[in-house]
């Protein structure tokens, strides 16, 4: 079912989610709208790129984000917006340095996954572990934990969302709360060399 284009989208666009989230957060004053903004940016990029794949996906992603914010600001949905016009193409590239995800090394990727798993609520974590790691079929997971199949499904759905958030660093952390990984990932530099 996944098409080449979908793979391209995951590989070239979604990997920049943390940088995108930070960029949106920096420019947009209403935090409760960030999730919606992000989704619309992705949708716009997906549609435009399906017609014509951009040669520089990350620059295109940021340009799309900027245009979307400008549109919304113009529609009067916000009072003030940072003069985003400052973000020249070369600057956009610089901004993206926040998250050169493709350089993130194996060590970090696995560390982040382990963190993502550990941050899940207890039962959710058990379900994810048994299904995704032990690869037990859902109904065996249910039997093993003594819960209904429907509950297993619910926990999985929740686990998927939380893992994606942690992995891609999608949504900005709440006020004053640093993302869990920032304390331990100052090893970007050397991690890069073992990236695969």
């Amino acid at each position: 079912m996944p098409t080449d284009f979908d793979d391209w989208f995951v590989r070239e666009i979604l990997v920049h989610e943390r940088a995108l989230a930070q960029y949106l957060q920096r420019c947009w004053p209403h935090r409760d709208e960030l999730h919606d903004l992000r989704q619309e940016v992705y949708a716009r990029v997906y549609e435009a790129a399906a017609r014509n794949r951009p040669s520089s996906p990350q620059a295109f992603l940021f340009t799309t984000a900027r245009h979307l914010m400008t549109d919304r600001a113009r529609r009067g949905r916000v009072v003030s917006i940072e003069p985003v016009g400052d973000f020249e193409p070369s600057n956009v590239y610089l901004v993206d340095d926040v998250s050169p995800e493709r350089w993130v090394g194996a060590r970090q990727a696995l560390k982040r996954l382990a963190e993502a798993l550990d941050r899940l609520p207890d039962r959710c974590r058990e379900v994810v572990w048994l299904r995704r790691v032990e690869e037990l079929p859902q109904k065996d997971v249910a039997r093993r934990l003594g819960i209904s199949g429907k509950t297993v499904e619910k926990h999985l759905a929740k686990g998927m969302r939380l893992i994606a958030d942690h992995l891609y660093g999608g949504m900005p952390p709440r006020d004053g709360e640093a993302p869990a990984w920032t304390a331990t990932d100052e090893d970007d530099g050397d991690a890069r060399q073992q990236a695969d």
Binding site: A116, L156, E186
Partner: protein, 350 residues
């Protein structure tokens, strides 16, 4: 709930249902319809699907863990996996499940390296407590941040290469910033002012969030919550210096010639404190200042060979630990050439 959240939830439910094992052509058709209904549906589905696929790498973590129990949190980071780094190859293959042996081993090595990294570097803690009094020294090394909890429940984040001396008594909380920069989240205690002194300046708070930083010439105070009073003890001539009251959003620079206060939206003032999460933020900043910032955090120095290079303006967010990438970007976007030496990188005009 915003629509976007509902869509994300629905995408997750589709994935979980498809994972159930009784997926029929009819279901596949229904999913396809849902995906086609809106591009938002599709992108959210792709996003969760990719993350879930990625989560399959967790199988590498299972290798080396005993039995089929769900391991306790953190077990693999500090426990069996790290120790299992030198486990025999055959065991790896058996335990790694669907992960290829090569990959499993690589993960393991990578993880062990991570553990070693976490174990290095800790604060110097020389505290003692004597009947309500406590005194402690804290220090961070170059390139490290240090978060510490003080005796009164306040917390401080020491920036790279910084030192604090903390003295708590029943009536006072005295913190001396001996070097570098620190951010304080002050526990509310109206009866005991929280006083941070640096180079003859004092920033006084009751319960608030702010940072104090020492530079060669001046002291900078950034307030992100509450109010801070900035003053200096009376000079030798007995004359008191003017007092500045800094509300949230203030960025005050106190130098020999006085105090300059800029009032910014709080979110903007917070940018001055992004070093806490590993970033330096520049906004039309001269490359000379940017280099000085990087040098506060790294042993490998960034030097500018020409004055003209120092005047280039840069903007953006950068990981202070990732000097290499900053320099690479400079080379791409600016007329500079980097000369990479073991202990420093020198930028030349090109």
């Amino acid at each position: 709930m915003h629509d976007s959240r509902r869509i994300e939830q629905a995408a997750a439910e589709w994935l979980a249902r498809r994972d159930r094992g009784d997926w029929s052509p009819y279901d596949a058709r229904a999913l396809e319809d849902w995906l086609c209904a809106s591009t938002r549906h599709r992108v959210e589905f792709l996003r969760l699907q990719a993350a879930w696929r990625e989560a399959g790498r967790l199988q590498a973590l299972a290798a080396g863990l005993p039995g089929d129990e769900v391991p306790p949190r953190g077990a693999w980071v500090l426990g069996p996996v790290a120790h299992a780094t030198h486990a025999t190859h055959a065991h790896d293959v058996a335990a790694a499940g669907t992960a290829t042996p090569m990959r499993a081993r690589r993960w393991r090595h990578a993880l062990a390296a991570g553990v070693a990294l976490v174990a290095t570097g800790a604060a110097l803690w020389l505290g003692w407590q004597l009947g309500g009094r406590s005194e402690a020294d804290y220090a961070s090394t170059l390139g490290q941040l240090q978060t510490v909890t003080l005796a009164d429940g306040s917390s401080a984040v020491l920036s790279s290469d910084s030192r604090l001396h903390v003295r708590m008594t029943r009536g006072e909380r005295d913190i001396e910033l001996l070097q570098g920069e620190a951010y304080f989240d002050v526990a509310h205690d109206a009866g005991r002012p929280f006083v941070v002194s640096a180079d003859g300046r004092r920033a006084i708070a009751v319960g608030t969030r702010f940072s104090v930083r020492r530079d060669a010439q001046d002291v900078r105070v950034v307030v992100t919550q509450g109010k801070v009073r900035l003053d200096a003890p009376p000079g030798a001539d007995g004359r008191a210096t003017p007092v500045s009251l800094l509300p949230a959003g203030s960025v005050a620079t106190a130098g020999r010639s006085g105090v300059l206060v800029r009032s910014l939206p709080v979110a903007e003032a917070e940018r001055y404190l992004e070093w806490r999460s590993g970033f330096l933020t520049f906004d039309d900043t001269s490359l000379a200042s940017a280099a000085a910032e990087f040098n506060r955090f790294n042993t490998r120095r960034l030097e500018l060979a020409d004055a003209g290079v120092g005047e280039l303006r840069v903007g953006g967010n950068f990981r202070w630990a990732n000097l290499d990438s900053f320099v690479k970007l400079l080379e791409m976007g600016f007329p500079v050439r980097a000369e990479r030496l073991p202990d420093r990188i020198v930028l030349h005009a090109r």
